[in-house]
Structure formats: C-alpha cells, structure tokens
Point group: C2
Amino acid sequence: MRVTALAGGTGAAKFLRGLTAVIAPEQVTVIGNTGDDALIWGLHVSPDLDTVIYALAGLLDESKGWGIRGDSFRCLAAMATLGRETWFNLGDRDLATHLFRTERLRTGESLSQVTDALRRTLGVGSRILPASDAPVSTRILTPEGWLGFQEFFVREKARPEVLDVAYAGADLAHPAPGVLEAIEMATAILVCPSNPITSIGPILAVPGIVDALGAARGEILAISPIVGDAPVSGPAGKLMAARGLSVSATGVARFYRPWLDTLVLDRRDEALLSSLQELGVTPVLADTLMTDREKAEALARRVLELLT
Amino acid sequence: MRVTALAGGTGAAKFLRGLTAVIAPEQVTVIGNTGDDALIWGLHVSPDLDTVIYALAGLLDESKGWGIRGDSFRCLAAMATLGRETWFNLGDRDLATHLFRTERLRTGESLSQVTDALRRTLGVGSRILPASDAPVSTRILTPEGWLGFQEFFVREKARPEVLDVAYAGADLAHPAPGVLEAIEMATAILVCPSNPITSIGPILAVPGIVDALGAARGEILAISPIVGDAPVSGPAGKLMAARGLSVSATGVARFYRPWLDTLVLDRRDEALLSSLQELGVTPVLADTLMTDREKAEALARRVLELLT
C-alpha cells in the first residue's frame, strides 16, 4: 500500500502523525503546501512543510500546532531590540531549520532537495515533497490591498475582510520532482483535513496536479476540516466564503468534486449525507476531531479501512 | 578633542569601554577590523565590529570577551542536530545581529551603513566604521593550506603552524566612507591593544589608510598588546613570528614604525625603552593589563594625559 497525502499545516500534521503510527511512515508520501512560505528576516520559512516534518519527527509543539516543543524565543526578543518586525514567531531551535533551508537554497539546491535533506536528518521516514519548487504564494485581497498569507493570518490575525484569494506564481510553476508520480502510483490519495483554500488550493493551483488527480488510479479520499458550519481551526471559513463556497463539508466536497471519490465528514454532519451524494461524492461519517493521538490514530484506521 | 581608534576585538573592546567612560563616546570614532568576518550558516558575521559594539552598548560577555552576556545557544544545538558545523559559537541573541546585518546587506546596504544602524539601534554613541565596505579577508597559510582567520583561530584553535598571512581582497578595497576623514581630522589616533597582524593589519592593508596615517596631523599612539614575550590574549605571538617580527613591544613598534609616534608599553617591559627610542618611537610605560574596568579607565586616562 502506498498512500499519497495532500497536506497543509496543523490539521494535516495531526492526521499524518496518526496515519504513520498505523502504517509504516515509508508507505506515506506527503505533498505539502508552500503557498504560505514567507521570507522572514531574510530567511525562507516554509511553515506548513515544517509543521508536518516536526510532527512526524516528534518535535512539534502540539499545544500551539506549530514550532518546536519547548523552544525559546531569545533571538526574537533581540530582533525586537533591533527594531525588526517580530509578528512572526520564530523560535531559537526553529531558526536552525530556516537557516539550514535558506543557506542550501542560496547554494542552488531546490526546495524539494532541501526538504528531503531536512526530513531525513530529522529521522522522518515519509517522503515530504513541496507541491512545487517554484514559488506559489497565496495572496489575500482585503479592503486594504493584497496581503501575503502570513501577513493576513499571523500579523493581521485573520481579521480583515477577504475579498479574493490568488496563488501568485502558480501559472509559471511545475510540480516538484516526484509529485505527479506520487499521485499516479498511489494506492490511495488522501486530502488531509486542511484549509481547502489556502492549504490545499495552492497545491491544486500548480498546473498538472489537478489533471493527475483526475487520472489517478487510486481512490481519492478527503477528510473535511469543517464540522458543522465552522472549521476545526484556522481561517478556512472566511476564505471559503470569499470563494463562494458554503462553510460546510458540502462546501469542501464542492471544491474537490471534479476528482474526489470519498469525503470523510464528522458524525454530527449526518444531515449532509444526501447533499454530498447528490454531488457525486461518497460520504462517510467518522469522528474527525483529533483532540489527542489516540483519536488521530483511530481516524487514520477508519480511513484505511475505507480503502481496503 | 576627537579621537580615532583603530580596533580589533577583545583587547580593543576593553580599552574602548575604558576610553568612552573617560571622554564622551561621541568624541570617539572607531575604525574596525573586518579581516575576520566570516559567512556562518549563510550569515555575515563581523566578530570584531560586534565585539566593539557589544562592549560599548554594555552587552558584551566580558568573561568570554565575545558575544552577548547571558546568551543561550539553542539554535546552535539545533544546528548540530541538523548536521551543520557548529565550531563557531553563535548565541541566540547574537544571531539577531547577524540576521539584521545579512538581510540589510542583501538589500544592497553597505557594511558601514549596516554597522552604523546597528550601533545607533543599540545606543552606542561612538561612530563605528569598518575599515572598508569591500571584503578584506585575513588568510592564514598553514602546512595544510590556506585557512580563513576564524577557521584557523576558532575551528583549529590556532594550533597549526603559520607560514604566511595574507589580506585577500585588500588590493581591490577602498576605505569605507568617513575612514580617511576620521584619520585626517583626529586630534589623536589610537591603535588599540589588538593583534597587529590580524586585527590592525587588515585595516592597514586597505589602500590609502597607511598614507593617511603618515599624513595625519594628530599624534598617533599605539598600546602594545604584547607584554614581555607573549600577547595578553590570542594568537598574536605566532602570527607576528610568522611575519618575521619579534614577539615583543619592539616587534609591535617595528610593524607600526612608518607612522607611529608613541608606543605605550607595559611597565615590566622597561628594558625595551632604549631599543624603542632607536626605532624613532617614543616609548611610554603604563599598566596595560586591563583586568577590570577600573584598570581600563586608568589606562585610557594615562593615554589621554599623554596627548594633552
């Protein structure tokens, strides 16, 4: 069995940790979001890739959902003294990841090469592929103008009204080496419970990936990040609404419909089953709230049962 | 009174802290060594400039003679986990300085602009000028080949035999803006008790600086970093010997002789007075060991008395 997972940050990290506790990490390939990558203090930060790597390496600060457990913020404090913006929280240990990445990118390595080196060095058995080695930047149009995703989400705390979302650079991007093959060769393709617009959307925006999903032999199963009418975490609701999607599992299914086979949604959304079937998506109820590791593993087990 | 000081790292930092306790920091301009600048993890590190800035900002870890007091090394530990070289000790707070510098250099600012921004941000009243904005790299020839200064001094702990010393890039360098003027306009020029070969040498190697010293109106006074036949700290002895200089205050005077007026040397080197006079340098005895702040201030006071 070979599973390929499309992944954002926190929700994906929880699910993938559960999944790799249930099947061998080596059976899993992760295609990760780089739409919220940012240049912070001149360093290339890839928040979603790092959250997944840290989770699978057992380093993730699970209470925050990002960064390294027990990290300190002394460099950040010194940056404040130097008058630099410190709205993006980079921990002292976390900084090593960004220094490592930035230095290797500057020597000409690709983001996928650096990501592979990072995950191997940290002992992660699953392959982690950025969707593209080229920059694909999620841009959020607010009444004040366009913002980068981190500016919108972290600096502005996701407060501004969202008028539109764009994936800058996507038209010029190509899938990173291994991405299309990972979709083609997978026994199953899982879309993690991530923000459809800003976590999975930038992956889908890379030319060739939607076509590969459409042609995939493996079953494609998504886990809804929306329970009832609200996301489990993050700004997915606001962003889905801005793109004309209902903030519901049905809205998620509508976004993925062209290539989606199965949507796993929370038991309390049982009322949506018929509308999902009408969309041509097979709905499956499950406990989707991964409030601890056991629940994440149980969800992964449930998903794997559906595939066999 | 306007004092211009040529400065290396630790010894210079001690003396300059004493000097700026005795006269107003704004009366002092420091021309700093960049020969031991290094690219560490992709960051531009200027150890001597930083040591002087930290000392004058009251941040210096005085027990080590470098870095920031009370700094932690968590990023460094994480870098070790990632398999990166960690022989150069960058503290977490110290990192902020190098991130600040590197980012601004990449946007096209000069090293002197960045250095000025740093010292102002940290509340340092003295101007700190790198000798040149162009790279001047101290290279040490050992039996194993050429090493950068930090590779020789920190990584190899100054153990290899020294066959030669070169200042790579010096022939193409120009003095940074303000350097020649600071020499021309100074009431007095002080050469701090720094390693002549690898702290002051790279400054002197920048075309135009020796000529400016030769033409300077102000008195030029150096403080010997050598007491007896050994340097107070660091590898000056080995490097002076490699350049054919005796490891003594006389060797220091011989190196600076073309433009030096006065050499302040330690009282226990009284026996050298006549040989110094023969070199055409005025020798003055003083307590040169700055084992605490009071002694550094007393030495600064002694030097200022000589100038008036």
